[in-house]
Amino acid sequence: MLNNFIFVFLFMLGLYAVIMKTNLIKMVIGLNIMEAAVFLWVIAFADVGKDVPIYHLGRVGENFNDPVPQALTLTGIVIGASTSALLLTLIIELNKFTDTIDRNKLKGLND
């Protein structure tokens, strides 16, 4: 219940940043907030046991959390970091050519 609410709130907050902010770096931050919302939600699914999924110091398999969503989230985090770095690189290059990172001041995209 609370998990779903926080997921929807963070996702819509990120979507608002992507739609309304005119600064391109803030749009990338909005994309990252949307990603973080999905990761939190998937990790909250996995939280069904009492213990981390590692056989160590006498832990038993009955109490473990679900390891599959955690592995999927690790994959997603790496992909997200790569795409954010590539987007920021494109913004640096855009700033070199047009001297602005504001979406409304860019010439040649709108007309």
Binding site: N4, F11, V48, V68, A71, S82, T89, I92, K96
Partner: protein, 239 residues
Amino acid sequence: MKQKLQHIIVIIILTISGAAVFFNLKVMTIYKDIPGGISRYIISFGLQDTGSLNLVTAILYDYRAFDSMGESTVIFGAVSGIVLILSRKMLPVSSKGLSFIVKRTLGIMTPFIALFSIYVITHGHLTPGGGFQGGVILAAISIIFSIVYGSAFDYKRYSPQMKTVMETTGALMFISIGVLGVFFEGFFLDNLNFLGGKPGTLLSAGSIPIINLGIGLKVGAGLAIIFYSMIQKTFREEL
């Protein structure tokens, strides 16, 4: 005025769609226990199948190792794109570094950061951690060199050529483990069980520690290359 109206309309639309998503999510089943199928199988038999105590590492580098290889290819693609876009000139032009106190303090701390990253990489099958996490800590050393000592120091100590060699070594290590799996076990990237020792010791779990080492080298060098490309251009603009 028009701007304000636009904000209000967007906020209303997002609130309505968010409420719609929220009330639809309430219909979904809530897991009170681990569902049967693949999760239950991995928790029950993961230790005997792979010999790795950490089940997340067992999934990433044994059951889904092919997917991890695709993931490292994504990092390679991102690094290639960034270097292709940003690099114009190999010699870095940067600041002269921070003050004497910061330099001496980081000089004492840097070996311990390196030791911690190597610990996280090599104990990936025993404790939380693994190649990706340890590789990020390894890249932090290069970032500390660039910021605190100036990127000329980073260029001398930990040159881009060396980073390229490290990244290629990691990728080749991963792929050669996969090819060895074809010869010894019958499948690409199958776990090399004859390497395995007693579960719980450092040299156990077959080929998982070797793949961890390769991924750690690859991620550390890749993130260091990304940071190096970005900082070089930025400081050159300011000077």
